[in-house]
Protein backbone atom coordinates (compact mmCIF):
# COMPACT_ATOMS: atom_id res chain seq x y z
CA UNK A 1 0.00 0.00 0.00
CA UNK A 2 1.30 3.37 -1.01
CA UNK A 3 4.27 2.71 -3.24
CA UNK A 4 4.34 5.34 -5.95
CA UNK A 5 6.58 5.14 -8.97
CA UNK A 6 7.06 7.81 -11.62
CA UNK A 7 8.85 6.77 -14.78
CA UNK A 8 10.04 9.26 -17.34
CA UNK A 9 7.17 11.56 -16.50
CA UNK A 10 7.06 14.86 -18.37
CA UNK A 11 4.63 17.71 -18.35
CA UNK A 12 4.32 20.72 -20.61
CA UNK A 13 1.80 23.48 -20.57
CA UNK A 14 1.52 24.41 -24.18
CA UNK A 15 5.06 25.24 -25.19
CA UNK A 16 6.40 25.49 -21.69
CA UNK A 17 8.11 22.35 -20.55
CA UNK A 18 7.58 22.38 -16.81
CA UNK A 19 8.75 18.88 -15.97
CA UNK A 20 11.50 17.31 -18.09
CA UNK A 21 11.63 13.51 -17.96
CA UNK A 22 11.65 12.61 -14.29
CA UNK A 23 11.96 9.35 -12.41
CA UNK A 24 11.04 8.95 -8.78
CA UNK A 25 10.23 6.13 -6.43
CA UNK A 26 8.41 6.63 -3.21
CA UNK A 27 8.34 3.73 -0.83
CA UNK A 28 5.34 2.61 1.14
CA UNK A 29 4.99 4.49 4.40
CA UNK A 30 7.60 7.08 3.58
CA UNK A 31 7.26 10.76 4.41
CA UNK A 32 8.61 12.54 1.35
CA UNK A 33 9.00 16.29 1.18
CA UNK A 34 9.32 18.20 -2.09
CA UNK A 35 11.23 21.44 -1.81
CA UNK A 36 12.48 23.89 -4.39
CA UNK A 37 12.19 27.50 -5.41
CA UNK A 38 8.88 28.95 -6.32
CA UNK A 39 7.72 27.86 -9.75
CA UNK A 40 10.00 24.85 -9.92
CA UNK A 41 7.13 22.44 -10.43
CA UNK A 42 6.42 21.08 -6.96
CA UNK A 43 2.69 21.57 -7.17
CA UNK A 44 2.61 20.36 -10.72
CA UNK A 45 4.32 17.15 -9.74
CA UNK A 46 1.86 16.61 -6.91
CA UNK A 47 -1.07 17.24 -9.20
CA UNK A 48 0.29 14.81 -11.74
CA UNK A 49 0.45 12.16 -9.06
CA UNK A 50 -3.05 13.06 -7.93
CA UNK A 51 -4.38 12.89 -11.46
CA UNK A 52 -5.56 16.47 -11.48
CA UNK A 53 -3.36 17.05 -14.50
CA UNK A 54 -2.54 14.66 -17.31
CA UNK A 55 1.09 13.72 -17.81
CA UNK A 56 2.43 14.72 -21.19
CA UNK A 57 4.32 11.45 -21.37
CA UNK A 58 5.60 8.78 -19.02
CA UNK A 59 4.03 6.40 -16.55
CA UNK A 60 2.76 6.65 -13.03
CA UNK A 61 2.06 3.57 -10.99
CA UNK A 62 0.52 3.37 -7.58
CA UNK A 63 0.84 0.14 -5.65
CA UNK A 64 1.99 -1.62 -8.77
CA UNK A 65 -1.13 -0.65 -10.71
CA UNK A 66 -0.73 1.57 -13.73
CA UNK A 67 -2.45 4.79 -12.76
CA UNK A 68 -1.49 7.07 -15.62
CA UNK A 69 -4.93 6.97 -17.16
CA UNK A 70 -7.00 6.81 -14.01
CA UNK A 71 -9.11 9.81 -13.03
CA UNK A 72 -8.31 11.30 -9.62
CA UNK A 73 -11.29 9.68 -7.97
CA UNK A 74 -9.96 6.22 -8.83
CA UNK A 75 -6.40 6.58 -7.64
CA UNK A 76 -7.12 6.11 -3.96
CA UNK A 77 -5.06 9.12 -2.93
CA UNK A 78 -6.06 11.87 -0.58
CA UNK A 79 -4.95 15.43 -0.98
CA UNK A 80 -4.78 18.29 1.50
CA UNK A 81 -4.76 21.58 -0.34
CA UNK A 82 -2.89 24.69 0.61
CA UNK A 83 -6.24 26.43 0.96
CA UNK A 84 -7.72 23.34 2.64
CA UNK A 85 -10.54 23.48 0.09
CA UNK A 86 -13.16 22.62 2.65
CA UNK A 87 -16.76 22.59 1.49
CA UNK A 88 -18.00 25.80 3.03
CA UNK A 89 -21.66 24.80 2.91
CA UNK A 90 -21.22 21.55 4.80
CA UNK A 91 -20.72 20.98 8.49
CA UNK A 92 -17.45 19.53 9.65
CA UNK A 93 -19.14 16.15 9.91
CA UNK A 94 -20.40 16.34 6.34
CA UNK A 95 -17.04 17.52 5.12
CA UNK A 96 -15.28 14.58 6.66
CA UNK A 97 -17.86 12.05 5.58
CA UNK A 98 -18.07 13.33 2.01
CA UNK A 99 -15.53 10.90 0.57
CA UNK A 100 -17.31 8.07 2.36
CA UNK A 101 -20.62 9.13 0.92
CA UNK A 102 -19.06 9.20 -2.51
CA UNK A 103 -17.74 5.71 -1.93
CA UNK A 104 -21.28 4.64 -1.09
CA UNK A 105 -20.72 3.60 2.50
CA UNK A 106 -23.79 3.30 4.64
CA UNK A 107 -24.68 5.94 7.18
CA UNK A 108 -23.72 3.94 10.25
CA UNK A 109 -20.29 3.12 8.90
CA UNK A 110 -19.80 6.74 7.85
CA UNK A 111 -20.62 7.94 11.32
CA UNK A 112 -18.33 5.46 12.94
CA UNK A 113 -15.40 6.46 10.84
CA UNK A 114 -16.06 10.16 11.18
CA UNK A 115 -16.21 9.87 14.95
CA UNK A 116 -12.99 7.94 14.98
CA UNK A 117 -11.22 10.47 12.80
CA UNK A 118 -12.61 13.36 14.83
CA UNK A 119 -11.27 11.80 17.96
CA UNK A 120 -7.80 11.42 16.56
CA UNK A 121 -7.86 15.04 15.42
CA UNK A 122 -9.51 16.51 18.50
CA UNK A 123 -12.44 17.71 16.46
CA UNK A 124 -15.25 15.93 18.28
CA UNK A 125 -16.67 19.14 19.71
CA UNK A 126 -16.72 20.91 16.39
CA UNK A 127 -18.46 18.33 14.24
CA UNK A 128 -21.56 20.42 13.77
CA UNK A 129 -19.87 23.68 12.92
CA UNK A 130 -19.31 25.05 9.47
CA UNK A 131 -15.72 25.61 8.30
CA UNK A 132 -16.29 29.36 8.43
CA UNK A 133 -16.68 29.09 12.20
CA UNK A 134 -13.35 27.40 12.77
CA UNK A 135 -9.88 28.75 13.37
CA UNK A 136 -7.14 28.14 10.86
CA UNK A 137 -5.69 25.23 12.74
CA UNK A 138 -9.04 23.56 13.17
CA UNK A 139 -9.75 23.93 9.50
CA UNK A 140 -6.54 22.28 8.68
CA UNK A 141 -7.43 19.37 10.88
CA UNK A 142 -10.76 19.03 9.11
CA UNK A 143 -8.93 18.89 5.81
CA UNK A 144 -6.74 16.17 7.20
CA UNK A 145 -9.77 14.42 8.64
CA UNK A 146 -11.37 14.33 5.24
CA UNK A 147 -8.23 12.73 3.95
CA UNK A 148 -7.75 10.10 6.63
CA UNK A 149 -11.26 8.66 6.88
CA UNK A 150 -10.78 7.05 3.54
CA UNK A 151 -7.61 5.20 4.42
CA UNK A 152 -5.96 6.32 1.23
CA UNK A 153 -2.92 4.72 -0.31
CA UNK A 154 -1.08 8.00 0.23
CA UNK A 155 -1.57 11.53 1.37
CA UNK A 156 -0.57 14.47 -0.73
CA UNK A 157 -0.04 17.80 1.03
CA UNK A 158 0.46 21.00 -0.96
CA UNK A 159 1.95 23.62 1.37
CA UNK A 160 -0.70 22.94 3.95
CA UNK A 161 0.76 25.20 6.60
CA UNK A 162 1.69 28.24 4.61
CA UNK A 163 -1.50 30.06 5.53
CA UNK A 164 -1.01 29.76 9.25
CA UNK A 165 0.70 32.08 11.64
CA UNK A 166 4.00 31.12 13.14
CA UNK A 167 2.71 29.70 16.41
CA UNK A 168 0.10 27.51 14.79
CA UNK A 169 2.54 26.25 12.22
CA UNK A 170 4.73 24.80 14.91
CA UNK A 171 1.81 22.99 16.45
CA UNK A 172 0.43 21.65 13.23
CA UNK A 173 3.84 20.49 12.14
CA UNK A 174 4.04 18.35 15.22
CA UNK A 175 0.55 17.03 14.72
CA UNK A 176 1.16 15.94 11.16
CA UNK A 177 4.37 14.22 12.20
CA UNK A 178 2.55 12.35 14.90
CA UNK A 179 -0.18 11.39 12.47
CA UNK A 180 2.41 9.94 10.17
CA UNK A 181 3.91 7.98 12.99
CA UNK A 182 0.57 6.51 13.96
CA UNK A 183 -0.92 5.84 10.50
CA UNK A 184 2.28 4.84 8.74
CA UNK A 185 0.81 5.84 5.41
CA UNK A 186 2.86 7.28 2.60
CA UNK A 187 2.86 11.07 2.68
CA UNK A 188 4.07 13.45 0.04
CA UNK A 189 4.45 16.94 1.30
CA UNK A 190 5.25 20.13 -0.56
CA UNK A 191 6.67 23.03 1.37
CA UNK A 192 9.00 25.93 1.00
CA UNK A 193 9.68 26.06 4.68
CA UNK A 194 13.11 24.88 5.73
CA UNK A 195 12.13 23.85 9.20
CA UNK A 196 9.19 21.81 8.03
CA UNK A 197 11.24 20.04 5.43
CA UNK A 198 14.05 19.24 7.82
CA UNK A 199 11.94 18.13 10.75
CA UNK A 200 9.23 16.15 9.05
CA UNK A 201 10.79 14.33 6.14
CA UNK A 202 12.08 10.83 5.89
CA UNK A 203 13.29 11.83 2.48
CA UNK A 204 13.61 15.22 0.86
CA UNK A 205 13.37 15.71 -2.90
CA UNK A 206 15.03 18.94 -4.00
CA UNK A 207 13.65 20.23 -7.27
CA UNK A 208 14.90 22.90 -9.60
CA UNK A 209 13.03 23.76 -12.78
CA UNK A 210 11.33 20.38 -12.79
CA UNK A 211 14.62 18.52 -12.32
CA UNK A 212 15.44 16.49 -9.27
CA UNK A 213 18.64 17.89 -7.89
CA UNK A 214 19.03 15.51 -4.99
CA UNK A 215 17.07 12.98 -3.01
CA UNK A 216 18.02 12.03 0.51
CA UNK A 217 17.34 12.22 4.21
CA UNK A 218 17.32 15.71 5.71
CA UNK A 219 20.61 15.29 7.47
CA UNK A 220 22.13 13.74 4.42
CA UNK A 221 21.22 16.81 2.39
CA UNK A 222 22.45 19.05 5.16
CA UNK A 223 25.73 17.28 5.45
CA UNK A 224 26.37 16.20 1.92
CA UNK A 225 24.64 18.47 -0.55
CA UNK A 226 25.36 17.18 -4.03
CA UNK A 227 25.87 20.57 -5.56
CA UNK A 228 25.90 24.29 -4.93
CA UNK A 229 22.17 24.59 -5.47
CA UNK A 230 21.25 22.08 -2.81
CA UNK A 231 23.90 23.42 -0.49
CA UNK A 232 22.49 26.91 -0.78
CA UNK A 233 18.91 25.79 -0.57
CA UNK A 234 19.07 23.60 2.50
CA UNK A 235 19.91 25.29 5.79
CA UNK A 236 18.98 28.64 7.26
CA UNK A 237 20.61 31.12 7.30
CA UNK A 238 22.03 29.90 4.06
CA UNK A 239 25.52 28.59 3.53
CA UNK A 240 28.29 31.12 2.78
CA UNK A 241 30.11 30.51 -0.47
CA UNK A 242 33.67 31.59 -1.12
CA UNK A 243 35.37 31.40 -4.47
CA UNK A 244 38.79 32.30 -5.74
CA UNK A 245 42.06 32.00 -3.94
CA UNK A 246 40.68 30.82 -0.66
CA UNK A 247 38.71 28.09 -2.41
CA UNK A 248 41.71 27.10 -4.46
CA UNK A 249 43.56 26.47 -1.22
CA UNK A 250 41.09 23.68 -0.67
CA UNK A 251 41.43 22.42 -4.23
CA UNK A 252 37.98 23.54 -5.15
CA UNK A 253 36.31 26.12 -7.35
CA UNK A 254 34.02 27.09 -4.55
CA UNK A 255 33.92 26.28 -0.90
CA UNK A 256 30.90 26.55 1.33
CA UNK A 257 30.65 26.97 5.04
CA UNK A 258 27.46 27.21 7.05
CA UNK A 259 26.97 30.17 9.42
CA UNK A 260 26.78 27.81 12.37
CA UNK A 261 30.14 26.31 11.52
CA UNK A 262 32.08 29.54 11.75
CA UNK A 263 33.47 30.81 14.98
CA UNK A 264 34.12 34.47 15.53
CA UNK A 265 36.72 36.19 17.59
CA UNK A 266 37.96 39.69 18.06
CA UNK A 267 41.54 38.74 18.32
CA UNK A 268 42.51 35.93 16.01
CA UNK A 269 41.26 33.62 13.30
CA UNK A 270 41.62 32.56 9.73
CA UNK A 271 39.66 35.25 7.90
CA UNK A 272 39.54 38.92 8.71
CA UNK A 273 36.49 41.15 8.19
CA UNK A 274 34.38 44.00 9.47
CA UNK A 275 31.03 43.54 11.15
CA UNK A 276 28.06 44.92 9.22
CA UNK A 277 24.51 44.44 10.35
CA UNK A 278 24.10 42.25 13.38
CA UNK A 279 20.82 40.72 14.32
CA UNK A 280 20.27 39.87 17.96
CA UNK A 281 17.64 37.26 18.60
CA UNK A 282 18.53 36.77 22.23
CA UNK A 283 19.08 33.09 21.74
CA UNK A 284 21.37 33.70 18.78
CA UNK A 285 23.08 36.50 17.04
CA UNK A 286 23.48 36.64 13.28
CA UNK A 287 26.45 38.71 12.29
CA UNK A 288 27.01 39.82 8.75
CA UNK A 289 30.72 40.19 8.27
CA UNK A 290 32.21 41.90 5.27
CA UNK A 291 35.44 40.24 4.22
CA UNK A 292 36.23 41.96 0.98
CA UNK A 293 39.23 39.88 0.04
CA UNK A 294 37.23 36.66 0.28
CA UNK A 295 33.88 37.48 -1.30
CA UNK A 296 31.73 40.45 -2.12
CA UNK A 297 28.70 39.13 -0.25
CA UNK A 298 28.75 39.52 3.50
CA UNK A 299 29.53 36.30 5.33
CA UNK A 300 26.83 35.31 7.78
CA UNK A 301 27.95 33.98 11.10
CA UNK A 302 25.67 32.56 13.68
CA UNK A 303 26.78 32.67 17.24
CA UNK A 304 24.94 31.47 20.29
CA UNK A 305 23.45 33.82 22.75
CA UNK A 306 24.64 37.35 22.86
CA UNK A 307 28.07 38.42 21.79
CA UNK A 308 29.84 41.61 22.56
CA UNK A 309 30.60 42.54 18.98
CA UNK A 310 29.30 45.63 17.29
CA UNK A 311 28.82 47.29 13.98
CA UNK A 312 32.18 48.21 12.48
CA UNK A 313 34.35 46.02 14.69
CA UNK A 314 37.13 44.14 13.05
CA UNK A 315 36.76 40.43 13.64
CA UNK A 316 38.30 37.15 12.67
CA UNK A 317 36.41 34.10 11.48
CA UNK A 318 37.51 30.50 11.72
CA UNK A 319 35.64 27.75 9.89
CA UNK A 320 35.48 24.28 11.37
CA UNK A 321 37.68 22.53 8.88
CA UNK A 322 35.71 19.30 8.72
CA UNK A 323 32.52 21.23 7.94
CA UNK A 324 33.85 22.88 4.80
CA UNK A 325 32.05 21.82 1.63
CA UNK A 326 33.99 21.78 -1.59
CA UNK A 327 32.54 22.19 -5.07
CA UNK A 328 34.08 21.98 -8.51
CA UNK A 329 33.67 24.33 -11.42
CA UNK A 330 30.36 22.77 -12.41
CA UNK A 331 29.15 23.28 -8.91
CA UNK A 332 29.27 19.59 -8.05
CA UNK A 333 30.43 18.41 -4.67
CA UNK A 334 33.95 17.12 -4.38
CA UNK A 335 34.16 14.55 -1.68
Amino acid sequence: MGRIILEQVTKSFGDVNVIPPLDLEIEDGEFVVFVGPSGCGKSTLLRLIAGLEDVSSGQISIDGRAATELPPAKRGLAMVFQSYALYPHMSVRKNISFPLKMAGLDQAEQNKRVEAAAKVLNLTDYLDRRPGQLSGGQRQRVAIGRAIVREPAAFLFDEPLSNLDAALRVNMRLEISELHNSLETTMIYVTHDQVEAMTMADKIVVLRAGHIEQVGTPLDLYRNPRNLFVAGFIGSPKMNFIEGAEAAKHNAATIGIRPEHLSISKSEGQWKGTVGVSEHLGSDTFLHVHAKDLTSEPITVRSDGEVDIHHGDTVFLSPQDDKIHRFDKEGLRIS
Binding site: P71, A73, L86, Y87, F98, M102
Partner: protein, 276 residues
Protein backbone atom coordinates in the same frame (compact mmCIF):
# COMPACT_ATOMS: atom_id res chain seq x y z
CA UNK B 1 -12.94 53.85 7.51
CA UNK B 2 -14.28 53.12 10.88
CA UNK B 3 -14.31 56.66 12.07
CA UNK B 4 -17.35 57.66 13.97
CA UNK B 5 -20.18 59.06 11.87
CA UNK B 6 -21.65 62.03 13.64
CA UNK B 7 -25.41 61.83 14.19
CA UNK B 8 -25.82 65.14 12.40
CA UNK B 9 -24.19 63.79 9.32
CA UNK B 10 -26.15 60.58 9.56
CA UNK B 11 -29.36 62.54 9.85
CA UNK B 12 -28.51 64.61 6.81
CA UNK B 13 -27.74 61.53 4.80
CA UNK B 14 -30.93 59.92 6.02
CA UNK B 15 -33.08 62.81 4.91
CA UNK B 16 -31.35 63.05 1.58
CA UNK B 17 -31.41 59.31 0.89
CA UNK B 18 -35.07 59.03 1.78
CA UNK B 19 -35.80 62.00 -0.42
CA UNK B 20 -34.05 60.46 -3.37
CA UNK B 21 -35.54 57.05 -2.66
CA UNK B 22 -39.07 58.41 -2.53
CA UNK B 23 -38.50 60.46 -5.65
CA UNK B 24 -37.48 57.38 -7.58
CA UNK B 25 -40.26 55.36 -6.11
CA UNK B 26 -42.81 58.08 -6.62
CA UNK B 27 -44.25 56.92 -9.96
CA UNK B 28 -45.00 53.56 -8.42
CA UNK B 29 -46.43 55.13 -5.32
CA UNK B 30 -48.55 57.32 -7.53
CA UNK B 31 -49.77 54.33 -9.46
CA UNK B 32 -50.73 52.61 -6.26
CA UNK B 33 -52.53 55.71 -4.98
CA UNK B 34 -54.32 56.14 -8.26
CA UNK B 35 -55.56 52.59 -8.11
CA UNK B 36 -57.67 53.63 -5.13
CA UNK B 37 -59.24 56.60 -6.86
CA UNK B 38 -62.23 56.83 -9.14
CA UNK B 39 -61.56 57.45 -12.80
CA UNK B 40 -62.66 61.03 -12.42
CA UNK B 41 -60.35 61.64 -9.50
CA UNK B 42 -57.52 59.98 -11.33
CA UNK B 43 -57.45 62.76 -13.91
CA UNK B 44 -58.52 65.51 -11.57
CA UNK B 45 -56.51 68.65 -11.57
CA UNK B 46 -55.03 69.62 -9.23
CA UNK B 47 -54.20 66.03 -8.34
CA UNK B 48 -54.95 64.92 -4.82
CA UNK B 49 -52.49 62.84 -2.87
CA UNK B 50 -54.40 61.26 -0.07
CA UNK B 51 -57.40 63.49 0.36
CA UNK B 52 -59.67 61.57 -1.96
CA UNK B 53 -62.33 58.99 -1.38
CA UNK B 54 -60.49 55.75 -1.19
CA UNK B 55 -62.25 53.08 -3.15
CA UNK B 56 -61.65 49.45 -3.90
CA UNK B 57 -63.95 49.63 -6.85
CA UNK B 58 -61.16 49.37 -9.40
CA UNK B 59 -59.90 46.22 -7.83
CA UNK B 60 -63.26 44.58 -7.81
CA UNK B 61 -63.84 45.60 -11.42
CA UNK B 62 -60.52 44.17 -12.40
CA UNK B 63 -61.10 40.95 -10.53
CA UNK B 64 -64.52 40.59 -12.08
CA UNK B 65 -63.45 41.29 -15.57
CA UNK B 66 -60.55 39.02 -16.01
CA UNK B 67 -59.24 35.88 -14.53
CA UNK B 68 -56.40 37.40 -12.60
CA UNK B 69 -55.42 34.16 -10.98
CA UNK B 70 -55.10 32.33 -14.25
CA UNK B 71 -52.83 35.05 -15.59
CA UNK B 72 -50.93 35.14 -12.36
CA UNK B 73 -50.47 31.40 -12.38
CA UNK B 74 -49.34 31.51 -15.98
CA UNK B 75 -46.82 34.20 -15.15
CA UNK B 76 -45.47 32.18 -12.28
CA UNK B 77 -45.26 28.97 -14.26
CA UNK B 78 -43.69 30.63 -17.25
CA UNK B 79 -41.15 32.76 -15.45
CA UNK B 80 -40.18 30.21 -12.86
CA UNK B 81 -40.28 27.36 -15.34
CA UNK B 82 -38.14 29.04 -17.91
CA UNK B 83 -35.68 30.17 -15.30
CA UNK B 84 -35.35 26.72 -13.78
CA UNK B 85 -34.89 25.01 -17.11
CA UNK B 86 -32.47 27.74 -18.04
CA UNK B 87 -30.48 27.03 -14.91
CA UNK B 88 -30.51 23.34 -15.62
CA UNK B 89 -28.96 23.89 -19.00
CA UNK B 90 -26.78 26.78 -17.95
CA UNK B 91 -25.13 25.30 -14.88
CA UNK B 92 -23.21 22.63 -16.77
CA UNK B 93 -22.35 25.09 -19.49
CA UNK B 94 -21.11 27.65 -17.01
CA UNK B 95 -19.17 24.93 -15.23
CA UNK B 96 -17.38 24.09 -18.45
CA UNK B 97 -16.54 27.64 -19.23
CA UNK B 98 -15.45 28.61 -15.76
CA UNK B 99 -13.44 25.57 -14.84
CA UNK B 100 -12.21 24.10 -18.07
CA UNK B 101 -11.61 27.24 -20.06
CA UNK B 102 -10.33 26.75 -23.55
CA UNK B 103 -9.06 29.15 -26.10
CA UNK B 104 -12.56 29.73 -27.40
CA UNK B 105 -14.42 30.01 -24.15
CA UNK B 106 -14.60 33.76 -24.31
CA UNK B 107 -15.77 33.68 -27.90
CA UNK B 108 -18.49 31.19 -27.11
CA UNK B 109 -19.66 33.34 -24.25
CA UNK B 110 -19.74 36.43 -26.37
CA UNK B 111 -21.50 34.61 -29.15
CA UNK B 112 -24.14 33.47 -26.69
CA UNK B 113 -24.68 37.01 -25.55
CA UNK B 114 -24.93 38.22 -29.10
CA UNK B 115 -27.87 35.90 -29.77
CA UNK B 116 -29.70 38.08 -27.28
CA UNK B 117 -29.39 40.93 -29.70
CA UNK B 118 -31.70 39.36 -32.26
CA UNK B 119 -34.58 41.85 -32.57
CA UNK B 120 -37.72 39.89 -31.74
CA UNK B 121 -39.95 41.65 -34.25
CA UNK B 122 -37.65 40.48 -36.99
CA UNK B 123 -38.21 36.84 -36.21
CA UNK B 124 -41.78 36.81 -34.98
CA UNK B 125 -43.27 35.39 -38.15
CA UNK B 126 -40.86 32.46 -38.48
CA UNK B 127 -41.32 31.59 -34.84
CA UNK B 128 -45.05 31.91 -35.13
CA UNK B 129 -45.07 29.53 -38.07
CA UNK B 130 -42.89 27.05 -36.22
CA UNK B 131 -45.10 27.25 -33.17
CA UNK B 132 -48.24 26.81 -35.22
CA UNK B 133 -46.86 23.70 -36.82
CA UNK B 134 -45.68 22.20 -33.56
CA UNK B 135 -48.85 23.01 -31.71
CA UNK B 136 -47.06 25.22 -29.22
CA UNK B 137 -49.18 28.30 -29.76
CA UNK B 138 -50.90 29.41 -26.61
CA UNK B 139 -49.27 26.80 -24.44
CA UNK B 140 -47.19 27.38 -21.38
CA UNK B 141 -44.69 24.93 -22.73
CA UNK B 142 -44.18 27.08 -25.77
CA UNK B 143 -43.59 30.20 -23.74
CA UNK B 144 -41.31 28.41 -21.36
CA UNK B 145 -39.23 27.29 -24.32
CA UNK B 146 -39.00 30.74 -25.83
CA UNK B 147 -38.24 32.51 -22.60
CA UNK B 148 -35.67 29.91 -21.66
CA UNK B 149 -33.94 30.49 -24.94
CA UNK B 150 -33.96 34.25 -24.83
CA UNK B 151 -32.75 34.38 -21.25
CA UNK B 152 -30.28 31.53 -21.47
CA UNK B 153 -27.36 33.74 -22.50
CA UNK B 154 -27.86 36.00 -19.52
CA UNK B 155 -28.15 33.05 -17.17
CA UNK B 156 -25.05 31.41 -18.52
CA UNK B 157 -23.15 34.62 -18.32
CA UNK B 158 -24.15 35.43 -14.78
CA UNK B 159 -23.43 31.93 -13.58
CA UNK B 160 -20.11 31.99 -15.33
CA UNK B 161 -19.05 35.08 -13.44
CA UNK B 162 -20.21 33.57 -10.16
CA UNK B 163 -18.48 30.29 -10.79
CA UNK B 164 -15.26 32.05 -11.65
CA UNK B 165 -15.11 33.20 -8.06
CA UNK B 166 -15.27 29.71 -6.66
CA UNK B 167 -11.82 28.32 -5.94
CA UNK B 168 -11.01 25.45 -8.25
CA UNK B 169 -9.32 23.78 -5.31
CA UNK B 170 -12.61 22.81 -3.80
CA UNK B 171 -13.82 21.08 -6.92
CA UNK B 172 -10.53 19.31 -7.17
CA UNK B 173 -10.84 18.28 -3.57
CA UNK B 174 -14.20 16.74 -4.37
CA UNK B 175 -12.65 14.90 -7.23
CA UNK B 176 -9.92 13.59 -4.96
CA UNK B 177 -12.64 12.52 -2.58
CA UNK B 178 -14.00 10.26 -5.26
CA UNK B 179 -16.86 12.40 -6.51
CA UNK B 180 -18.07 11.86 -10.03
CA UNK B 181 -18.72 14.88 -12.20
CA UNK B 182 -22.39 14.73 -11.40
CA UNK B 183 -21.74 14.50 -7.69
CA UNK B 184 -19.23 17.31 -7.93
CA UNK B 185 -21.79 19.62 -9.48
CA UNK B 186 -24.72 18.56 -7.34
CA UNK B 187 -23.07 18.30 -3.94
CA UNK B 188 -20.28 20.81 -4.15
CA UNK B 189 -20.59 23.40 -6.89
CA UNK B 190 -24.29 24.14 -6.76
CA UNK B 191 -24.61 24.54 -3.00
CA UNK B 192 -21.54 26.74 -2.92
CA UNK B 193 -22.86 28.96 -5.65
CA UNK B 194 -26.24 29.32 -3.97
CA UNK B 195 -26.12 33.09 -3.55
CA UNK B 196 -25.10 33.52 -7.14
CA UNK B 197 -27.63 31.05 -8.41
CA UNK B 198 -30.32 32.67 -6.31
CA UNK B 199 -29.70 36.09 -7.69
CA UNK B 200 -29.51 34.75 -11.23
CA UNK B 201 -32.81 33.09 -10.56
CA UNK B 202 -34.36 36.27 -9.26
CA UNK B 203 -33.07 38.48 -12.01
CA UNK B 204 -34.33 36.09 -14.63
CA UNK B 205 -37.70 35.70 -13.03
CA UNK B 206 -38.02 39.45 -13.15
CA UNK B 207 -36.94 39.60 -16.77
CA UNK B 208 -39.28 36.78 -17.73
CA UNK B 209 -42.10 38.26 -15.70
CA UNK B 210 -41.83 41.54 -17.56
CA UNK B 211 -41.21 40.08 -20.99
CA UNK B 212 -44.06 41.39 -23.09
CA UNK B 213 -43.37 40.76 -26.72
CA UNK B 214 -43.32 37.00 -26.95
CA UNK B 215 -45.77 36.42 -24.16
CA UNK B 216 -48.29 38.63 -25.92
CA UNK B 217 -47.77 37.35 -29.40
CA UNK B 218 -47.67 33.65 -28.78
CA UNK B 219 -50.61 33.28 -26.44
CA UNK B 220 -54.35 33.63 -26.62
CA UNK B 221 -56.51 32.48 -23.76
CA UNK B 222 -54.87 29.59 -21.98
CA UNK B 223 -51.30 30.56 -21.45
CA UNK B 224 -51.59 34.32 -21.31
CA UNK B 225 -49.59 35.75 -18.42
CA UNK B 226 -49.94 39.04 -16.60
CA UNK B 227 -48.53 41.04 -19.48
CA UNK B 228 -51.66 40.11 -21.41
CA UNK B 229 -53.71 40.98 -18.38
CA UNK B 230 -52.17 44.45 -18.45
CA UNK B 231 -52.73 44.71 -22.17
CA UNK B 232 -56.44 44.38 -21.62
CA UNK B 233 -56.40 47.56 -19.52
CA UNK B 234 -54.16 49.86 -21.42
CA UNK B 235 -55.84 52.53 -23.51
CA UNK B 236 -59.33 51.38 -24.32
CA UNK B 237 -61.83 53.94 -25.46
CA UNK B 238 -62.75 55.68 -22.28
CA UNK B 239 -61.00 56.53 -19.08
CA UNK B 240 -58.88 53.81 -17.69
CA UNK B 241 -56.12 55.27 -15.55
CA UNK B 242 -57.50 54.09 -12.24
CA UNK B 243 -58.32 50.64 -13.52
CA UNK B 244 -54.96 50.42 -15.22
CA UNK B 245 -53.31 51.45 -11.99
CA UNK B 246 -55.17 48.76 -10.13
CA UNK B 247 -54.25 46.19 -12.71
CA UNK B 248 -50.64 47.35 -12.73
CA UNK B 249 -50.47 47.26 -8.99
CA UNK B 250 -51.75 43.72 -9.08
CA UNK B 251 -49.31 42.77 -11.81
CA UNK B 252 -46.22 44.15 -10.14
CA UNK B 253 -47.21 43.36 -6.58
CA UNK B 254 -46.08 39.73 -6.62
CA UNK B 255 -42.70 40.54 -8.09
CA UNK B 256 -42.32 43.56 -5.82
CA UNK B 257 -43.05 41.47 -2.79
CA UNK B 258 -40.68 38.81 -3.95
CA UNK B 259 -38.08 41.48 -4.57
CA UNK B 260 -38.62 42.84 -1.11
CA UNK B 261 -38.01 39.51 0.53
CA UNK B 262 -35.04 38.67 -1.58
CA UNK B 263 -33.44 42.08 -1.58
CA UNK B 264 -30.51 40.92 0.51
CA UNK B 265 -30.02 37.88 -1.63
CA UNK B 266 -30.14 39.95 -4.76
CA UNK B 267 -27.61 42.43 -3.52
CA UNK B 268 -25.31 39.78 -2.16
CA UNK B 269 -25.54 37.60 -5.21
CA UNK B 270 -24.79 40.44 -7.50
CA UNK B 271 -21.81 41.50 -5.46
CA UNK B 272 -20.52 38.07 -5.43
CA UNK B 273 -21.04 37.50 -9.08
CA UNK B 274 -21.24 40.20 -11.59
CA UNK B 275 -18.56 42.19 -9.95
CA UNK B 276 -15.48 40.94 -8.32
Amino acid sequence: MARAVTPARKATVTVFAWGVGLLIFFPILWTILTSFKTEAEAIASPPSFVGFDWTLENYSTVMERSNYFLHFLNSVVISVGSTLIGLLVAIPAAWSMAFVPGKRTKDVLMWMLSTKMLPPVGVLIPIYLIFRDTGLLDTRTGLVIVLTLINLPIIVWMLYTYFKEIPVDILEAARMDGASLRAEIIYVLTPMAVPGIASTLLLNIILAWNEAFWTLNLTAANAAPLTAFIASYSSPEGLFYAKLSAASTMAIAPILIMGWFSQKQLVRGLTFGAVK
